[in-house]
Amino acid sequence: MTDLALALLSGAVGGILIGLTPRAGNRLRNIVALVFSAASTVFSWRVAGAVFAGRTIRISGEIAGLAWSLQPDPLGAVFGLIVSTLWLFAGVYSFGYMAGEHKQRTYYTYFLLAFSVTLGVAFSGNLLALYLFYELLTFATYPLVIHERTSEAMKAGAKYIIYSLSGAGAILIAIIIVYSWTGNLEFAGGPLLAGGGLRPGLGWVLALFVAGFGVKAAIMPLHRWLPAAMCAPTPVSALLHAVAVVYSGVYGILRVIYSVFGHELTGQLHVGRILPWVAAFTILAGVIIATQQDELKRRLAYHTVSQLSYILLGAFTLHPWGLAGAICHMISYSTLKVTLFFGAGIIAKRTGKVRVSEMSGVGWQLPRTMAAFGVASLGMIGMLPLNTFWSKYYLMRGGVATGKWQLALVLITSGLINAFCFIPTVVAAFAGERGQPTLETGSGTSLMLAPMLLLAGIALLTGLWPGLVWPGVDAVVDWFF
């Protein structure tokens, strides 16, 4: 319990501390940020460890006549682990990337606050707490989206707020309806609605939930805010817009399907049967649009849209293998995508190039960056020595096991298009003339490069030994099936 409270509070306290000390130097601020995010990470690891060991950790209370609770289960623990681990990497990367940027105090304040809030999403124990943190996440990350303060950034911020709040509104309606049916919003006691049979309007409630969380999970056509938000600094794009924020939407949908409706009930609803195809559409459309983008970060953003629906697809199959694939993909995709974004950030910082068409020769200037970038690209196709191979394998197995072999076909097609998406970039990067001086110098670059190489290494390692992540995946599947 103490671990849980400390995990949530460390980030918030650190953020507020940074926010309230305008005179602190950059160096001191970085140290404070590092210490508090490391603390938060360690405590969330401890929480996750306790959850996997089968202990119940719970903080609950009644505020304003409504029950609120924090109680991580294996799914929450996995999400918390992903988020907290990657936050540490992104934090270190930020020290390199943000050096010399403006408004660093605001940046680190909200960077840490957002950490706390995301952990809140992961560890929430009932729908109300989930809703609260989901809503707060919008506000905690808004200042990061508009970091550049250009008119483009302001527009992106407005779009982000409006999309997210509308989604939250849909969720609130759905929560109210569930509350009026059950009078209880806790996740812990098995699926909330399972006992009530097929109530009229159940399909609508599911649709409202999926649409509401689907905004942050960037299900098409609710994805428009995500490419716009790419004007944020790269560590933010990497961590929040490829993992934390969008995963909170994905996580919400997983929660709704497995903890509120339950996989059996969802399977009996028409809406539940349509959902895999919505995800399949987003997978293909997202990656096809991605290949059309010239700006590297926008290409990565549309690619994120596509990849998030991999996870959703697995969840929507309502089959243990599908869910295993979804959880596995949550873990593996996040490591690779953050690597890709880190690479894009280093390229932009060191060479000033942001477009795919300008990449020729970059590989010789930034050899290690582009090597890691290339490894991650291969991962996005689903090649064997990388961890995404396994998640795709489970996903396809889930699709086939439920009799929807077409879903496997969608995944294979998407993998092929993925090859067109990134491999030409890597090839072009190494195509230009050799012998240019390397730009990977200076302590700033090594602060950016180290997390990137480490993450690519982790991706390779978990690809070679998928058993490393299997206990987590297994625990989640066991919990829900």
Partner: protein, 498 residues
């Protein structure tokens, strides 16, 4: 002694501000003394209201009756203090206190010399007394008298600012409000003609016995009352006077007008509709559908108008139009959840909107302009003011753990119980639009590049007032306890036919 106070407390909370209002002009030369008297009056008033509320809560919501002058009910005027009255009294006195603090020593630039300021306080106290009267009275003609007192003091408050626009706005308000008063008087007259009673309880019994004999008169009465109170509480599309009046008034007056006065008329309408007509008759007449529809239109239209305003106080004024829509929507849904939600939202909006207007007043007074687009940098240079503004905005949008959420949560439960899907969608739409018109202000204030100006938070009493209101918003959101209890009891009282 204590027993005497307890017995006379219902009339004391009405008489006290009125009495002080009449004494105040004699002190006009000593403005410090005037301000001190006003502030201590509001403190005493708040304590009285709180004591009354605790008495009612101890009695499990049983109303405390009081016959004015010792004349019993059908002949004399009866005051009745139930949960509804207590909630409203607490809200009026609780908001008046910070507003009085804010006004202290801060009115010269908006109002003028000591005499004008004293007149301003007199009007405030008259309005407060009238609102308290509306809360406790259960006599129809008394309602009309109090409505008139309140209307005239509101007009005076609007015109008290030394600015040509204020006079014009006050005049427009006077014309429309008088029209509203005439309609209210007409409606009450119709009721008196067919029932022969002015006491709400007796009129209600008689009305429910005989209404089928006079269906047209009943229709006339209810539509006159709806339109009359609709004009006064700025129900869309009868709100046309409000944006001018509330933005032209001095800021503390705007806070009272938007936060309290508008709700006073709504309380009168609630009493007339639910205590005289009764929920069964309302539904028989189809009034609940009309109210719901009007509420939904008001929420949508008010919010959309608010979006297009660039002047800070006008945007807040249109936001009031939208929030009044929530009150009417909840009235129309006519079940215990929705009524509790409405009443709670009324109280929380009173605190929120006063906070917003006071913060806006402080900002406008410091920066010298009232355009949102020119507010860049306010967040850094006036941290406390802008923090209070932000807390109030977030609450109005309805983020959990702030007061706005609880009202909307109950309203949503109520619309679910009434089976009204559209109402749910509109409540949520209203929240999203509310974010759309309030957050840009916060964004400009905090995140846009600041000009090199030397702005500062207002003085200590003003800061205290803002902090009190922001704290109130959070307190109502985290621990609504007695307030929510009062709202729920009041909702049940309204639904039970006596």
């Amino acid at each position: 002694m204590r027993a005497t106070i307890e017995v006379h407390l219902p009339v004391f909370v009405v008489i006290m501000p009125l009495f002080v209002a009449f004494v105040l002009p004699t002190l006009a030369r000593r403005i410090r003394l005037v301000e001190g008297v006003v502030t201590s009056t509001t403190v005493l008033w708040f304590l009285g209201a709180g004591y009354l509320a605790s008495l009612v809560l101890i009695r499990n919501g049983n109303p405390i009756g009081y016959s004015l002058g010792g004349w019993p009910a059908p002949w004399g005027i009866e005051l009745s203090v139930g949960s509804l009255s207590c909630l409203f009294l607490l809200m009026v006195a609780g908001v008046s206190l910070p507003v009085a603090l804010f006004a202290a020593g801060n009115m010269a630039h908006e109002v003028g010399g000591p005499k004008r300021i004293t007149r301003f306080y007199v009007l405030c106290l008259l309005l407060g007394g009238a609102l308290a009267g509306m809360a406790v009275t259960s006599d129809l003609f008394n309602v009309f008298v109090l409505v008139e007192v309140a209307t005239l003091s509101c007009c005076g408050l609007v015109s008290s600012r030394n600015h040509p626009l204020a006079a014009e706005a006050a005049f427009n308000y006077l014309i429309l409000a008088t029209l509203g008063s005439a309609l209210i008087l007409g409606g009450i007259g119709f009721l008196y003609i067919i029932t022969g009673h002015l006491n709400m309880g007796f009129a209600s019994q008689e009305l429910n016995r005989i209404w089928q004999e006079y269906p047209h008169v009943v229709w006339m009465a209810v539509s006159f009352l709806l339109v009359g109170f609709g004009v006064k509480s700025a129900l869309f599309p009868l709100h046309v006077w409000l944006p001018d009046a509330h933005s032209a008034a001095p800021s503390p007056a705007s806070a009272i007008l938007s936060g309290l006065a508008v709700k006073g008329y709504a309380i009168c309408l609630i009493k007339v509709l639910y205590n005289v007509f009764g929920v069964a008759l309302i539904q028989e007449l189809g009034m609940h559908r009309i109210l719901t529809l009007l509420g939904m239109i008001a929420i949508t239209a008010g919010s959309l108008f608010a979006l297009t305003q660039d002047k800070l106080k006008r945007r807040l004024a249109f936001s009031t139009v939208a929030q009044v829509g929530y009150i009417f929507l909840g009235l129309g849904l006519a079940n215990s959840m929705s009524l509790a939600g409405t009443l709670f939202h009324m109280a929380s909006h009173a605190v929120i909107k006063s906070g917003l207007f006071l913060a806006a007043g402080a900002i406008i007074a410091t920066t010298g302009n009232d355009r949102i687009s020119e507010m860049a940098g306010v967040g850094r240079q006036m941290p406390i003011t802008m923090a209070a503004f932000t807390v109030c905005s977030v609450s109005l949008v309805g983020i959990p753990l702030f007061s706005g959420f609880i009202g909307k949560w109950n309203l949503l439960l109520g619309s679910l119980e009434a089976g009204n899907r559209l109402a749910q969608a509109v409540i949520i739409l209203g929240s999203v639009l509310c974010a759309a018109y309030l957050f840009p202000i916060i964004r400009v204030a905090y995140f846009e590049p600041a000009p090199a100006a030397d702005w500062q938070d207002p003085g200590l009493p003003q800061k205290t007032a803002l902090i009190l209101l922001a704290a109130g918003v959070i307190l109502l959101g985290v621990a609504p306890g007695p307030f929510l209890e009062l709202a729920k009891r009041a909702a049940l009282d309204l639904l039970v036919m006596k």
